[in-house]
């Protein structure tokens, strides 16, 4: 069996087996949903508006930007190199293997 066939065979087998395991165990009748606790308020008070989601996305992007600026793009080449060295090493190995090992 060649490599792509092996990969495809085992991936399809995995998904089929996963469905066979999942169908009997994830039966809806065996799942009981509980309401979330909102300091005594009813759950109907919990609403997620577009503005809140937009603020959440902004907050996450802000943190990502801060992390990038403080740890990766510090302006020092050494910092960038130290960050990317493991990934570069992996790429070199993959390139070596792709060229025939």
């Amino acid at each position: 069996m060649d490599l792509p066939t092996l990969m495809l065979t085992l991936t399809i087998t995995s998904f089929l087996l996963a469905v066979a395991l999942w169908l009997p165990t994830a039966n809806k009748s065996r799942i009981r949903r509980t309401e979330i606790y909102l300091s005594g308020e009813p759950q109907s008070h919990f609403k997620l508006s577009f503005v809140e989601v937009a603020w959440a996305i902004r907050y996450v992007m802000q943190r990502l930007y801060k992390t990038l600026v403080e740890h990766v793009q510090t302006g020092l080449f050494n910092d960038w190199f130290a960050f990317s060295l493991p990934y570069l090493l992996l790429l070199v190995v993959l390139l070596y293997l792709a060229l025939g090992g």
Binding site: L6, M7, T13, A18, T25, A26, R33, T34, L90
Partner: protein
């Protein structure tokens, strides 16, 4: 190297032996063994009541969770999706086991070590999403911590595994061949020394990464009970929890089985009964060493875990991979 594999043969090797059924039994027996060993180290008794010496306790726990209990979860948790991902992780690990030359049918190809790495990644990603997919903060913390560690231990496991297979099956990079027909180059003293050193370094890197992957001490911060209430398992119950426990045990069993038979390559892994018994003896020996080393240490913080993994796992695996090219 490769036996002709029919569709029935593939199904049997993935579902029964050495796939799902075999790995579940081995994994749950290993859980009992691990709990007994840790209990002895901590002056406790450990599992005792179900079966001889409490051996069937993990089986009883998983049976009750999956077949008797119900899932209790919050309204916004996509629990059925999470259960599918867990089942997919278990199935992918079972499929990866079909690459082991233990049964009458096994699958192998040149470069199949990459298929092994690819399939086992499903399990890690499933564990991370189990934590991150919950609406409760505790599992989210656990998932985020596991993901942070995963970025270090997954490349390390991949590199150390490739290094081990490169030394034992230099021509084909096939895991099945490295296990069934290992060739340590002992013809010249220098090459032999470099080969043995590479195996030892890769084994240390692989074991360290494995402790983090299996969330064993000292890298069990993603499921710390006293800090994040059990991490990714905190909001799971019933069949969802049962499947997660099975995923964890099956994953650990497969990784330790591969490690034991790559690090102790003689006698090689073959389909015969005697060979499989020897492979299991090697498995329990390596598991004992791992558990004794792991549980003699205390839990470390996330940053300390990342530093330790970078030092003992990522760096060592890169060194092992580099030296494997010299063999």
């Amino acid at each position: 190297m490769e036996l002709p594999a029919s569709a029935l043969g593939i199904v049997l090797s993935v579902v029964v032996y050495p796939g799902l059924l075999f790995l579940v039994i081995l994994g749950l027996l290993s859980q009992w063994y691990r709990r007994k060993l840790v209990a002895r180290m901590q002056n406790r008794v450990g599992p005792k009541y179900v079966g001889p010496f409490g051996m069937l306790q993990p089986f009883a726990d998983v049976y009750k969770l999956i077949f008797v209990k119900e899932v209790v979860t919050g309204v916004f948790t996509p629990v059925r999706l999470l259960m599918f991902l867990t089942a997919l992780g278990i199935a992918a690990i079972s499929s990866a086991a079909a690459l082991l030359p233990m049964g009458p049918y096994y699958l192998g190809a040149p470069l199949d070590v990459f298929v092994f790495i690819y399939l086992t990644l499903y399990a890690s990603i499933a564990v991370a999403i189990l934590g991150l997919g919950s609406t409760s903060p505790y599992p989210s913390f656990g998932g985020a911590r596991y993901t942070a560690l995963m970025l270090v231990f997954e490349p390390a496991i991949a590199m150390s595994l490739i290094a081990l297979v490169r030394v034992l099956a230099p021509g084909s990079l096939s895991l099945a061949e490295a296990l069934s027909n290992p060739k340590l180059p002992l013809d010249s003293p220098l090459r032999g020394t470099v080969a043995v050193a590479t195996v030892v370094i890769a084994a240390v890197a692989y074991s360290t990464s494995l402790l983090a992957k299996a969330m064993m001490k000292p890298f069990d911060i993603p499921e710390a009970e006293t800090e994040v209430a059990g991490g990714y398992l905190a909001e799971l119950s019933g069949p969802a929890l049962g499947l997660s426990i099975v995923l964890h045990e099956v994953e650990l069993a497969l990784y330790v089985l591969v490690l034991a038979n790559l690090v102790i390559p003689v006698p090689p892994l073959e389909p015969g009964v005697l060979s499989v018994v020897v492979a299991l003896v090697k498995y329990f020996a390596v598991l004992t060493v791992l558990v004794l080393v792991a549980y003699s240490m205390g839990r470390v913080r996330v940053d300390q875990a990342l530093k330790a993994l970078g030092k003992y796992s990522l760096t060592l695996s890169a060194i092992a991979l580099a030296t494997s090219f010299l063999v």
